[in-house]
Amino acid sequence: MTEVLFFIEVVVAGLLAGTMYSLVALGFVLIYKASSTFNFAQGAMVFFAVLAFVGFMELGLPFSLAFVVTVLLMVLVGFCTERMVLNPLMNQSEDTLLMATIGLGFVLEGLAQAAWGVEVRRLDLGIGDFPIEWIIDVFGLFVSALDLTAGIVAAVLIIGLALIFKYTRMGLGLRAVADDPGAASSIGIPLKNIMLLVWSAAGVVALVAGMMWGARAGVQFALVDLALKALPVLIIGGFSSIPGAIIGGLIIGATEKVLEVYVGPFFGGAIEGWAPYVLAIFFLLYRPEGLFGEKIIRRV
């Protein structure tokens, strides 16, 4: 019985950690959906956003004000990106845009470090990374409060975004642009505004993801590498699907933890580092477009 409980605990911890990956992956999906650009800078945006947030807090701003200022900063970043990177590169190949976003990532990482330094910061959200009492009492499971909060925040964010996409004018425009940018702009949908909106939304998602990760592991450069973990999540979920990002994150989180606990000891541990990527490869061989992605048909 304790073994079963332990297994459930591992899976739950994995699932909740997975929602953190989902949060990062969500930022990728937002931008990919609207512009078929794979934004490699998303990890750097996570790092940049949360470092800015901590920086503002250190200046003495209260939590809410620091959050608002950082959101505005991320909108500014989105604006500059749209004007200075995406606009000049319009109609270029996907690979070119990808490489440009790698460059953008470097700029953001460098700027963040130049402005706020390289040392590891602590971020206290007032939620501890310790098990919740009543869950232990009722179910006999150890579930971290921070993990649970991250899960709830991710859920709220995703439902919110899904509602905006589905029911607002802006969301309709966004879906039109995602479907066919040329046709959308020819009927008068403001492409630039849509892009700005999407990049800003991705910036806010990055900030939230960064705050969750930062509270757990400290605000540090390693966040950029953690964001690389969102890539296998995207491969499993499909690049253009928001539910895909969530389910992909859950799958990666759970599998990673289960493998680490049950298979890892045979190989000396730390297989978390590469297991998600190998899982993604097997997924690619079987279903290249991901669970929820659209099938890509290529012709000569």
């Binding site: 490489m99 470097f106 700027l111 130049a114 890539l231 012709r299």
Partner: protein, 349 residues
Amino acid sequence: MEQKVNNKNVFMGYTRSDLTNFLIVMILSFVAIPLLVKTDYWYSSILIPWLCLALAAIGQQIVMGYAGQLALGAAGFMAAGAFACFNLILRVPDIPFFVALGLSGLVAAAFGILFGLPSLRVRGIYLMVATLASQFFIVWMIDKFGWFKNYDTSGIITAQDIVILGKPFTSPLEMYFVILVVVTVLTVLAVNMARGSTGRNWMAVRDMDIAAESMGISLLKTKLQAFAICAFYCGVAGALFAFTYLKSLEPVAFDIKLSFKILFMVILGGLGTISGAFIGAAFILLFPVLLNSIGNNVFHGAIDATIISSIEQVVFGVLIIVFMIYEPLGMAKLWGNIKQRFLRKRSLQ
């Protein structure tokens, strides 16, 4: 008139100017540099790492610039090559250095084929993720299994001396010559592969793989060949890098950052040119040195070293974006443009 003579095929499809350029570079690197450069600093901190990284960049160039496969795992293959070389010299008695080097390239190539397999199904960013697996897996494997490190617990292993025909090559100048020979041979090989049918197949696959396939080019063979050759070059480069520059073997040296660096060398240098690999490697290597010396000499250390490295990162990022927008073909093309303008001016006079 002169132009016509220059374009004539003199030897195996090369024009006379190609051959004179080659000769000039050879004389410069084998005779002029050793005669003129006397300080060890130049060899051990600039020329040796430059040649090693340029070799790895050629590998990246082959798989990305020629075959069009977005791969991001060069440092993983370098690690495989470095540790293969270490183990071969350690465990096989009296193995000649160049044989060990070649074999370690082949070990890396085997990894290249294995992790190149996903390229048959996916492309672009998907492939990038799949190749990231190789990066993380290879470094993890070396780190976790003690055998590869000869059960050394300190984590840093001193590389053996390079011994060729009983003579140890340990001074920076001697090692420079060893690397130069390897780089020359492999570069000439790469140029010829790129010009021959192998390279044409790569480029056909890069430009449109479905069209290439319908023309009878085997995607399986072409892509895996590109991955294998890329990994071979990276493996040899990694072994040389560890044995001559780092002088030690540690898996941490071959992390994802190095892979990114090599990627940038190729992007900034110019996709689809061998010379771009050398130009890009030189730029990526020299730029931080330049920035540091500006920081030290102009501002007299008033700027913090971490700030300088951050600025370096920003400038790299900006340069990549600028090159993507204005000159996607990179510095090699830029150089070509300058040369052409100069030549045109001369012919007008």
